[in-house]
Amino acid sequence: MSFRIIGTGMYVPPKIVTNDDLSKIVDTNDEWISKRVGIKERHISEQEFTSEMGLKAAENALKDANVRPDELNAVFAATISGETSSPSMSCMIQKGLGATCLALDMSAACSAFLFLLETAAAYFALHPDYQKILVVGTERMSGIIDYTDRSTCVIFGDGAGAAVLERGENYHDSVITVKGGDDVIKIPCYAGTSPWFERETEPPCMQMKGQETFKYAVSSITQDIESLLERNHLTMDDIAWIVPHQANKRIIDFAAKMLKVPKEKFFCNIEKYGNTSSASVPIALDELAKSGNLKRGDKIILCAFGGGLANAACLITW
């Protein structure tokens, strides 16, 4: 017993920051960024907090699904860049929707949307009365990036993606792996002003080791996809689309090469949005769904990897 996706939605803030814009504030250029990560531009919030972007994506998903907020049994949300630690992101979105259902958050960085789907499947199984769950990934990555660090500030963008899940049978399998540790990807939190705390603290900004992240990402994508195919007795020919976390185009292209599949099998929109962490898979899914290239009945694989370290993939019938 699981779910099927009956609607998707996304929201990105209107301001676009190009590679040329970034070259004015940090030592970089369009050629280097395009070659290194495959990003040409990203959306950056000027006026909206993370919850406000999440709310807009949620509203778009509900409209797409033709579902009212009062029909929801739960709102699950994920973020690593919320404007508040409390209330949680899901609480803020629940309030904005005028819903009265359960609201809970998941913290799993770039893999969080897949963690949300897994959790939703579990909740549908646990609560026979649950019919509809809203899942949202929303990020204001620009709020946790050091814009003097050219190795990270060129990569990330802001935005939100959401999906409405209805009780069903279309979430077939998943693989989730966690290798806890902060030596590859780390985002410290604000450490406070306690005069008694003696430990050294760090600025609340993204830290990422590029090469280690690349190797981990490609390994996890290839292993997770191969695992799902094998366990479900499928080949790549049975899969209409792979929707990967949009971290770096070279990761996606190299994973396709290692899997020996055409890179066109992987949906990619990173050139427009950059890496939006937990929002990247639902934003990609929404764009793919609205493009007309995804048909009901298509089998798709969603996959993600990132801070934790955590990586996840799932097999869904659209």
């Binding site: 290194r36 590029g210 090469q211 190797k215 490609v218 070279r250 290692m258």
Partner: protein, 73 residues
């Protein structure tokens, strides 16, 4: 065999004629970046069943060949 594979991968990554790449060729001279090196390392790992960490001092075709040969056993 190892050196040939390394040259093949570098030629493909840089769109260079493999005949122009020798043991003395430095990676820096080919205009490849750290992600190119990571990609090559992963392909060599798969090809030869090894675990390879690309350190800065492994900076030529010859040096990489030696390291891979020693890891292969």
């Amino acid at each position: 065999m190892v050196q040939e594979k390394i040259i093949e991968l570098l030629a493909e990554a840089t769109d260079t004629d493999a005949a122009e790449i020798t043991a003395d060729t430095a990676f820096a001279d080919l205009g490849i970046d750290s992600l190119d090196l990571t990609e090559m390392a992963m392909q060599l790992e798969e090809e030869f069943g090894i675990e390879l960490e690309m350190k800065p001092e492994i900076n030529t075709v010859g040096k990489l060949t030696e390291v891979v040969e020693s890891l292969k056993g």
